[in-house]
Amino acid sequence: MNEIQKLIELKGVFFSYGGVPVLEKVDLQIQEGEFLGIVGPNAGGKSTLLKLILGLLEPQSGHIRVLGKRPKEARQQLGYVPQYPNFPRDFPITVEQAVMIGRLGVRSRHSPFGNLYPGRYNRTDRLAARQALAEVEADNLADRQIGSLSGGQLQRMLLARALVVEPSILILDEPTANIDQRLESDIFDLLKRLNERMSILVVSHDIGFVSGYVTRVACINRTLVCHHADAIDGQVIQELYGENVHMVVHQH
């Protein structure tokens, strides 16, 4: 893994939904160990960018390399926390079972059977699920039905499900959009800790808030508007959103 300097590389990426361009000429490089915040207005293409990196969407032109491979080949090494859960909340499944699904791709990474590996989860899988839940301080939720979780608890479960994958890169789409502010800093404190072991890519609409945590910010509004290592100021925000935005200073 050491020889890979650029963890993720996008060159001249163009993507449109049915002719309407969402991303144009996006060049972006992400280095090992970075904690990159992707910010920008709604419908600016942030989630689309993540889906391209995950290989869930294909760019119309340009190229994307993740861990030196094509996104579809690399995605088993990526942990992903979606903005909205893709499952019905009344699905009959416990938190532990849902987290354990993340283990499916882990064994198959080394298995000749690939993802057709039959049978049950083993002790290692169970242990990994417990550890991931402990890491997000949700080990007491293991036996709860997902339908009984609060918004913040569900977010922790989704994070545990991404961590149990043992990812090289953790990718999160608005991880704090549906929870209250106190939990927001809890989650970002946790991400900061995780950043010691893995690179993190997080989409957020709250530019002021993330700038206190991330190592670098990329601003996306159809194209990559800016690319800053240093603090975000009003000038940059205006450039990005095209109008005056009320900025609240956060103290961390």
Partner: protein, 286 residues
Amino acid sequence: MNEFFAALTQHGFLQSAVVAGLLASIGCGVMGTYVVVKRIAFLAGGIAHSVLGGMGAAVYYGFDPLAGALIAAIISALLIGSVRLQWQAQEDTMIGALWAIGMAVGILFIAKTPGYQTDLMSYLFGNILLVPEKSLWFMAALDALLLIIVGTYHRQFLAVVFDEEFARLRGIPVTFFYLLLLVMVAITVVLLIQVVGLILVLALLTLPAAVAGHYVHSLGRMMLLATLLGSTVSLSGLALSYGPDLPAGPTIILLAGAVYVISALATRAVARRKVRASLPASANRR
């Protein structure tokens, strides 16, 4: 009822009916659970009804209607499944079209079958009393196949029915497992046609699993409970229908429907009482 048990010891056809009911219940419990949690009842209905096309063609060309049903069910499962994965917007229209086209084709074939007119009613509403022994073996083999596949790949199926996108990111071949799941639903439909006919299949596929979902909260337990409920309902329906000489299929379905309605109402009432009881307690706790 007593009359039924007396007759059961004497008549081979009743014993076959009981075995058929039990075999069908295994399929309905296991695959019904997936249909209910994945919310694809309408899709399963489309598969069930389009099967008449295959049965009609088989009758016309002189094959076993059950074999025709199996082939038609698998084809329509694959068709509906691919449409669902490719053009998501038109899914329900496509299912509706396949539903009606399949039935129309079947009725044309049956109408044009020369000589003895096969009993259309028994395809539509089933006739558990006329299940031949050969069909019992066929049903047992299909059940065995379902159980082996589910036993082997239950983790992958769970991943796909729970969260397709996440399953895809884990490198699971989602399209393969989704289509396999639909083919297995199609097989179950054919199992159930013997018992309740293709019009009523949907009820037996969804109701026992839905009732099970009121009480247990994991797929494995739902499958087990739904199978038990399915067997209880089909055997009791059979027994109830015997004395007054009612058709068994509709009796079984009405029984399943009654159990579902009562269970749904009871679950709601209990949930409401729980909420009411917890209100002052939780206020104190915080």
